[in-house]
């Protein structure tokens, strides 16, 4: 059963279209991440789902009910904000109970829910404190708690970890994942952080200019990006692109030719079965490159000179030039390479991603 269903959602300010005919079907218990650069409309979409923004056209259904014009509090959602948005003059307990009091939940029930949420989030000792006396991580826990006490089936997170430092962010990320496993509720989560998106999501929706580019599993997004934007946006460092031409030979072999290089892409899984030719681009992930002796025979291979080494601990980024253009790849962190070293590298062109040069769609 779908938990949140969005039909042709459109949002316009005067003549400016922010979201354009957006469709999305989010299953019950799913963890969906809206990912995109700032200004792509991901937070706006979340605000529309929450009912904090009135939409221009389309429908929003939550738990099978049409809530397009319902008040935010009547939609059966809980929301967590980037800036925590705790009521500064209330204690933690006051923050947690404010919504319940507004909904006229009976007192014993309130007490029961507070105790339960405080236990889940381990904030029992903080209940009497004011938000100003809490650390960033504690504040975010309370903000999550405020959404939890509502006992709703859908939670909306608007970049909840962006204001925290790196270590705390990683910790809370794990906690969020465990929390989702425990509650089995639907979560829609907005972020611009790829790592968060990849680690948390069941499915990721990559957005650009108010349009969902691709809605897929983290694996699908990473390995089979649907267009060049997604391929470029996901992954750090980003993909290496070559511009060239696809040629089908008389032997039936398919080759991708740049001015200087020829890749055999006969085993590439084309989206359309029809034979292709014409201008295209080919993208290789820095992670897909092998070095040294363990390069299989069917790989494309060549010799390069290392130009720059970026040791990252767990692995090492190597910058070089391939056929005159910048090329970067990832090596094992224990590999000893230095600037100026000569290396043999190889990759399988058939497991790359290729895009039409004109509409930039995946081939």
């Amino acid at each position: 059963m779908s938990s949140v269903l969005i039909k042709d959602l459109t949002l316009k300010y005067d003549h400016l279209t922010i979201l354009d005919k957006l469709n999305m079907d989010i299953q019950e218990g799913e963890f969906l991440v809206l990912l995109g650069a700032s200004g792509c409309g991901k937070s706006t979409l979340l605000n529309c789902i929450a009912g904090l923004l009135d939409i221009s056209a389309g429908e929003i259904h939550i738990n099978g009910k049409n809530v397009t014009w319902a008040e935010p509090s009547e939609r059966g959602i809980g929301m967590v904000f980037q800036s925590y948005a705790l009521y500064p003059q209330m204690t933690v307990e006051g923050n947690l109970t404010f919504g319940l009091k507004n909904a006229k939940v009976p007192k014993p029930e309130i007490a029961k829910r507070i105790a339960k949420v405080a236990e889940i989030l381990q904030i029992e000792s903080l209940l009497k404190r004011k938000p100003a006396a809490l650390s960033g991580g504690q504040r975010q826990r309370v903000a999550i708690g405020r959404a939890l006490v509502r006992e709703v089936k859908v939670f909306l997170f608007d970049e909840p970890l962006s204001n925290l430092d790196a270590k705390l962010r990683a910790d809370l990320r794990i906690e969020l994942k465990l929390l989702h496993k425990r509650l089995k509720s639907t979560i829609i989560y907005v972020t611009h952080d790829q790592v968060e998106a990849m680690t948390l999501a069941d499915r990721i929706a990559v957005m650009k200019n108010g349009v969902v580019q691709q809605l897929d599993t983290p694996n699908g997004i990473f390995h089979r990006p649907i267009n060049r934007f997604v391929a470029d946006f996901i992954g750090s460092p980003s993909m290496n692109f070559f511009e060239g031409e696809l040629v089908t030979l008389e032997t039936g072999q398919i080759e991708f030719k740049t001015a200087e290089l020829v890749f055999n892409v006969s085993d590439y899984e084309f989206t359309n079965a029809t034979p292709v030719s014409g201008k295209a681009s080919l993208g290789i992930r820095p992670e897909a490159v092998s070095t040294g002796a363990n390069i299989p025979d069917n790989f494309f291979s060549c010799d390069i000179t290392v130009e720059l080494v970026e040791p990252m601990g767990s692995d090492t980024l190597v910058w070089t030039k391939l056929a005159g253009q910048n090329f970067r790849f990832r090596m094992d962190g224990k590999a000893t390479v230095a600037n100026g070293d000569k290396l043999r590298i190889g990759f399988n062109p058939s497991s790359s991603s290729m895009f039409d040069a004109e509409n930039e769609d995946r081939l």
């Binding site: 929450a50 904090l52 809980g78 929301m79």
Partner: protein
């Protein structure tokens, strides 16, 4: 430790008598004296008897301290036929002040809150028009207001003046509250909406408790403004309910008989006392409120 010599730490202490300090504090001192001297003269004169004043040494402290001028200014000085001093004007002013301050602040704070958080079509224009009102010299509105009050049957009444003060406080107070509320993070408002609070719920439970400093600022602005008002008081009320400032003018400017400088001084000091006390009591909060409204981003 005892064996270690004491090593001077930090920068070398500077002499306080530098040219810069002398110039700075000298200027401040002169300016302070310039402002405090009239007050000194007023206090000193109000404590002297008339024979002593006639000697002409206005800076000399009183040879014989008397509080009689104060008593007379408060309870027996005559204006026209009434001889009950400033006390009548004081209570009139209080009756005008309390509802005017209360109403103007309540309405302006709700205005500011609505203009920030519940934007409606044309709310920006509404605000622009309201602000425009602050730049029109109010003298041009005096006569139209007379007609308005007459038509409403409020001319010459206390509530008519309250209405005028409330309306005239609106532009600046709305601006004050709007700016303050727009510095409150929008997400707080969103969170409260998700928590099911409505227009008044958010106003009373979220916004109001956060806005105490700006309420203090607004209160000080209004109390001093309304208490010191002379023009509206003299135009829109009648002698029975003249505010204190008008009463003061009538005592000081009466043309009959001897000019009682000591009574005049005492009466003026009495009238200025209310705003003065307010500044002393809430000065710290005032500064804090202004700063909070200005800097918090």
């Amino acid at each position: 430790m005892a064996n270690n010599p004491i090593i001077p730490n930090g920068p070398k202490p500077k002499s306080i008598f530098t040219t810069r300090n002398i110039l700075l504090y000298g200027t401040l001192l002169i300016v302070a004296i310039y402002y405090i001297l009239p007050l000194y003269v007023m206090i000193v004169t109000s404590l002297k008897g008339m024979p002593e004043i006639r000697l002409g040494n206005i800076f000399a402290p009183p040879l014989e301290v008397t509080f009689e001028p104060w008593v007379k200014a408060w309870s027996t000085a005559c204006t026209g036929l009434n001889c009950d001093g400033l006390s009548r004007g004081f209570w009139n002013s209080v009756q005008i002040l309390i509802p005017s301050v209360f109403l103007s602040i309540v309405i302006a704070s709700v205005n500011g809150y609505a203009l920030v958080n519940w934007k409606f079509k044309g709310s920006e224009i509404f605000f622009a028009v309201l602000l425009f009102g602050a730049f029109i010299p109010y003298q041009v509105m005096i006569y139209p207001i007379v007609i308005l009050l007459r038509e409403m049957g409020l001319m010459g009444s206390l509530w008519g003046l309250v209405l005028v003060h409330t309306v005239f406080g609106m532009p600046i107070l709305t601006l004050l509250f709007r700016n303050y509320f727009s510095s409150v993070p929008e997400e707080l408002f969103k969170a409260a909406r998700i928590d099911g609070a409505g227009f008044w719920g958010i106003y009373f439970h979220i916004m109001l408790p956060m806005a105490i400093p700006i309420f203090v600022v607004a209160m000080i602005l209004q109390v001093t403004g309304i208490w010191n008002d002379f023009l509206f008081g003299v135009i829109y009320t009648k002698p029975d309910i003249y505010p204190m400032t008008v009463q003061l003018n009538n005592i000081v400017n009466s043309v009959q008989g001897v000019k009682e400088y000591n009574v005049n001084m005492a009466a003026t000091l009495l009238t200025g006392l209310v705003p003065l006390i307010l500044y002393f009591v809430s000065g710290k909060l005032f500064v804090r409120g202004i700063a909070a409204g200005a800097v918090k981003g």
